[in-house]
Point group: D2
Chain length 337, copies 4
């Protein structure tokens, strides 16, 4: 909770993001996921006789004891964050420490962890969008027959109803929800394919490609995510772009809704909007409906989010034969619920 105000703090750290989203993208959670993946890998490797049950049990019992201070201390020496976490974990595990990360490359751990964080983020957002849609549904019914003036080119045109206008926003959000679910359904991890995607190190350990396939299947089952069929050192960055598009679509709908609201709450127009704007919605729990400041906040953040897909496009399109630095920290900075 305490912030270091003598240095820059992202507004997403302490003003805009939800606590749940911040938790998903926290350093602590990331390291917990890494350890969970190492444990899942070791469990499966035990089935194939590569490691012992005692070693696995040792890892399991210390998986949640992350110690970031110690890990950063090690990283200061060896300049590699994931290797430092392995060493910090290993120090806690006298029996199993030596077999952590067996056969793996860094991105086997990091990329699967990122896919899991994206999964959880998408699920969280979908829950919020569903709740928002439920609010809209109630309002649409309530105002189905309340007449209001429709505007084209900001000129009064023909009458419509408040319920019908709200239905447009809801229809947009339904499309967004469909897109979010489409991305969520297609979400995959890298699986366990080693340094260049050929799984060479695992095949060597296990003796055959089919055993490797079996190992990957088991671990991914534990993690609750399928794996891509083919990868380079990383999973295809196209996936990040698809996820950001779905979020940008949500931002787009909220932007339109909030912008309309700002126009409609302008007093010269607002007069005839009174029955809707004044009491009912004013007392609603939906924060962006109370005053234009919140609507402006939504539009401001939406505008920022609209620029992020292109960063992911570049990550996918200009990655050459290798991997660029992941922009994961940037790419899901905001969630304008």
């Amino acid at each position: 909770m305490s912030q270091d105000h003598s240095s820059f703090q992202s507004p997403f750290t302490w003003r805009y993001a939800s606590p749940e989203m911040r938790a998903i993208w926290s350093e602590a959670h990331k390291r917990r996921l890494w350890r969970r993946i190492w444990v899942a890998l070791a469990e499966a490797q035990a089935d194939f006789g590569l490691v012992t049950a005692a070693q696995v049990a040792d890892l399991q019992s210390h998986a949640d004891q992350i110690d970031i201070a110690r890990a950063l201390q090690i990283e200061a020496e060896i300049k590699h964050d994931l290797m430092a976490e392995i060493k910090a974990f290993a120090e806690q595990c006298p029996i199993g420490g030596g077999i952590i990360h067996l056969g793996a490359t860094s991105m086997d751990i990091e990329d699967n962890a990122d896919a899991l964080r994206m999964r959880d983020s998408l699920d969280l957002i979908r829950t919020r969008v569903k709740a928002l849609l439920a609010s809209f549904a109630a309002k649409i019914d309530e105002y189905a027959d309340v007449p209001t003036m429709a505007f084209t080119h900001l000129q009064p045109a023909e009458p419509t109803t408040i319920g019908y206008r709200l239905a447009q926003y809801a229809q947009d959000l339904l499309i967004d929800l469909d897109e979010l679910s489409h991305v969520r359904r297609g979400l995959k991890g890298k699986g366990f394919k080693g340094a260049v995607g050929t799984s060479a190190s695992y095949i060597e350990l296990l003796g055959s490609a089919s055993q490797r396939d079996e190992l990957e299947t088991r671990v991914m089952l534990t993690l609750g995510l399928p794996a891509f069929n083919a990868t380079t050192q990383t999973y295809p960055r196209k996936q990040d772009w698809l996820a950001l598009n779905a979020l940008a679509g949500l931002a787009q709908s909220l932007n339109k809704f909030a912008f309309d609201l700002r126009v409609l709450q302008s007093p010269p127009i607002g007069e005839w909007r009174e029955p809707f704007g004044a009491k009912q919605v004013g007392s609603s729990a939906m924060p962006f409906k109370r005053n234009p400041i919140n609507a402006e906040k939504i539009d401001s953040l939406a505008r920022y989010l609209a620029q992020l897909p292109r960063v992911a496009w570049d990550d996918a399109a200009v990655s050459l034969l290798e991997r660029t630095l992941d922009d994961s920290a940037n790419r899901r900075l905001i969630l304008p619920e």
Copy 2:
């Protein structure tokens, strides 16, 4: 075919786009679609007794006789392109001319025509992507076991195979095809809902909302496209953005493939790439494989296409209560196959 070289000509007019795509987005085709929609509307209105069979037959028999010169002449006077087309059409139809556009607003015609052009464009592109995937499939089999060096960070890492590398590109394209099909499946027209989406003019003509629904269903069935449930004067511009995203995804995959190719064809690396680059692919009919100029062309156009979704995002997000000018002409300018 003849170009006016004393004035600016878009490179898409005479250099880059395919003849099929240019035809879909030609002025002539747009006007043919407009007329087809007017005819379909009149046919359905005849079922409801609003117009006569003779009027419909008159429209049908002149639907394909577009006369752009005459229409532009009228437009010069009345400053409205769609109204001018109505008048030009009506001049050709002594019997049915008076009932063209009955109950409709401009966007009932234009928006459905645009949705049809998007449908045909998407179908054309999907056909091309499928052909491209077939080419990849053949190459993947052919080079499945040909070893090559994998690069991470442009540094040689571990061996992989040419077939496996090609499979990455194909996997990307498969995702693109899935996205294109997803957009294609969800594609909808505005339907026939009048000036502000409430269908007031049609309900007045037909006497009831259920009759209006029935009319819309029949016309859209003829056009081969479902209609959105709720619209403003236009269909939700989110749809354009979704279509452009899918195209930008395709551009992304082609950009990566073409960029990799440019790096691999660089002689210092190219030496070991000879078996693949020199004869087999060199003789392929796929143009972007022959030389880096084409790969550069792909990357240059991809880079441009990557910027277009944001234009559509704005159209969807900042359209207030009205409609902005449609950027449809810009939005599907290029198809980098």
Copy 3:
């Protein structure tokens, strides 16, 4: 003037751009500039005894006789547009034909021609912006003391004057003009530096680097543009990006002005705006002031233009050691005056 409506035509070809701008970016004008550069190069080479006065005179006398049909015919054979133009020019020049392009590489001609087209475009736009500022100046004086309500957050705040509000737009445009002039002042051509920027071919012809410098200085003086000190095969693409930024800045100001106008012309607010909106401006020759359709057109095009600098950013930032295809045709598509 006649358009081929059976194929796609860019809206900039026949709807939006000014005739002057279309002329600058026409195929014919580009080829005229190429020839002018070849002539200027030959003239300077004559001073150094590399070519004869008769050869130069022959080129001069045919420089304006461009024959695009013939050039395209040759291009169809040899697949190189600039080489085809050289051959078409040479066919017309029995005496000087053989010395066209002496020592030059394609980009010595194309890049300088592009810089000249940018120069003329910037000058044209600056003239238009100055005229627009003069219109604003007159209106600012006229309405200096006419009170109107100022809005913050679209809520009425305190009174201001129409003149003061207009002064904000004018101040924005003044900054734009300053940026356009800043880019114009800094504008440079590639000069004559050959295939990789080292001027090797010219130094070989002339015998010394200082002679080469002298040659470049003379030709650039004739063309009316300085040259960059160092180049690759092309001039730094950063220059294109700077020019597009200045144009995007202009689009930004026009977008704000047009958007404000759309809001202020909305009847609920419009009532108190009557003295300004109704007669005076309604009768003005400035098209975007007459009705919101034009303001919407400006906003729609501005939104598109806002996306173009990023294309040029990529051209400059991802050009590796070589040159990418120039996006010049795309980059100055629109000029929303």
Copy 4:
């Protein structure tokens, strides 16, 4: 220094930004600037007899005692960050507390503070760019005559020298420095113009517009920044866009340099690059030259920065008659030196 790892932390908070830049954009520094502006305003108001010397002295003596904990406590009650800071400051000043912010509107304080932070950021970056240019100058001399192969289209073309290639990067950076200085020279604060830019509250206090002008001139002199002639509630957001463009230009040059470096350090090409890449530069203090990971980091951040100008474009172009939420925190997130 200590981070809260149970929640999201921006990578700019603890990984990428320089300590100096983080300090400029810290919460503490922002509040120190706010107080400095309040003191400067009070000092000038004392000259006009609006406040007493004792009141000013009281403010001066507590200006640096910011107490963020207390201010946040107050903000939790009143929901306004600047008003909360005023109250926290006033609690410390028994004599002068009552006259803080006299005649001012929030944006008179915030906007001038933001302009000051931009000024200091630009100065910091310009210092770094100059140092970088000095490094380049030394290397250009050192390698002026060391031959290397020039590549066009990633194909070996003609020889050039390492010094000449480095001169291209330096020329790009010189243009960037010129752009940064151009923005820096043009930088202005809002001045003191009240709620809608008309200075009504100050004119009322001082009795005349000329006195108001004099007051603004004095305060801005103290702050070391001129003021815009005309403003709305805020200074024109175009200024933010111009500053971000200059930063994006720098990112562009670094992106090209780093990308070239990554290609040149690829071993197949790298062999002949050894004399430059291996010892001399390897031992340089310039971090991005040591290994491709840093070059990739630059390209990754540059790609992100390239997207930020468009956010500022929107802030300037879509701000209607009011102000949107400032994206200042986002807009200068990174400085890839």
